[in-house]
Amino acid sequence: MNPKYEQQMKKGVLEMLVLKLLSEKEKYGYQLISELKEKSGEMFLLKEGTLYPILYRLEDEELVISRWSEPKGKEVSRKYYAVTKKGREILTQLSGLWTEFSVKVSGIMSYEESV
């Protein structure tokens, strides 16, 4: 299959998945990449170049907020993201839309025309 189609399909749900992962607790970039990889059975292998612009967009739309951690000792500072109240509301709407979307899409895909 042309990887373009797969990429296109995944792209549409990335914002929702990132919001979902962040709704549990605040996380930093690498954590999000690792969790997405693990929880999707390696279907979502997100690169930093894709994730960071998504997080910038979500922050611009005030769906997430960020903070740089105070490093302790030799630790490096990390940029943590957390979902805002507005972000949770959007996530709820997106979850509902996704359920409806997947049902409808599955319905169409499994439909067999009766002769």
């Binding site: 930093y28 970039g29 690498y30 690792s34 930093e48 170049g49 960071y52 612009p53 967009r57 490096v76």
Partner: protein, 213 residues
């Protein structure tokens, strides 16, 4: 490739604001360090993220169009500013090199200039090169200059005869490459020939150039 070099190579190719570039640099350093601390070797992180070119392309492809437009505009403005500065420098250099003349004397006394020009022509008529040297800049004091002057004079004839008239003197002040000079032109008639002298004096009224026609 070290982590620092890898991150720098990516950041350099990002098409976004300087502030965002700096933040992404810090972010990448932090996440790569987190990956290494989590047991992923640097080679594996680099393999996952791709070459600096590909990693930067991934960012650029995902930046909003406004961000890319602003970065492009900034680059264009920067190039335009560099071109304008370079052009201005070339024009300034050209202006500095080109001689700029004025008939109005602001740094020289007209009578003093006329006196010195007349003296030099008198000395030339008398073939008194020893004395001319005293009123010349260092470069004009050599034997070669004296030889050249003798040869040039000979081109006008071996016997010029007595001086008959001294024409009007035209004087102009000239500035070139930061140096101030004064140039005078005067036609002198002799019994057997006539010569137009163009004589240049430096700021101390020392002979710096002589042209005979």
């Amino acid at each position: 490739m070290t982590q620092e070099v890898y991150v720098k190579s990516i950041v350099k190719k990002l098409k976004c604001s300087a502030a965002k570039r700096q933040e992404i640099k810090k972010w990448l350093e932090s996440d790569i360090t987190a990956a290494i601390e989590g047991g992923e070797p640097l080679e594996s992180v680099i393999a996952r993220m791709g070459t600096p070119e590909n990693a930067a392309k991934e960012f650029n492809d995902n930046f909003p169009p406004e961000e890319l437009k602003a970065a492009k505009r900034k680059k264009t403005v920067t190039i335009a500013v560099i071109v304008i500065i370079a052009l201005a420098a070339v024009i300034a250099l050209g202006w500095w090199i080109l001689p700029k003349g004025s008939m109005e004397l602001t740094h020289f006394d007209k009578e003093e200039v006329e006196g010195r020009i007349t003296l030099i022509i008198d000395l030339l008529d008398a073939d008194d090169y020893e004395e001319i040297r005293k009123y010349s800049i260092k470069a004009m004091q050599s034997e070669a200059v004296e030889t050249a002057l003798r040869e040039t004079k000979a081109l006008f004839g071996s016997d010029w005869g007595k001086r008959e008239s001294f024409g009007s003197m035209y004087i102009a002040e000239v500035t070139q490459m930061g140096k101030r000079m004064v140039t005078a032109q005067v036609s002198v008639s002799y019994e057997n020939t006539s010569v137009t002298y163009t004589i240049t004096l430096d700021k101390d009224l020392q002979l710096g150039g002589l042209y005979m026609k």
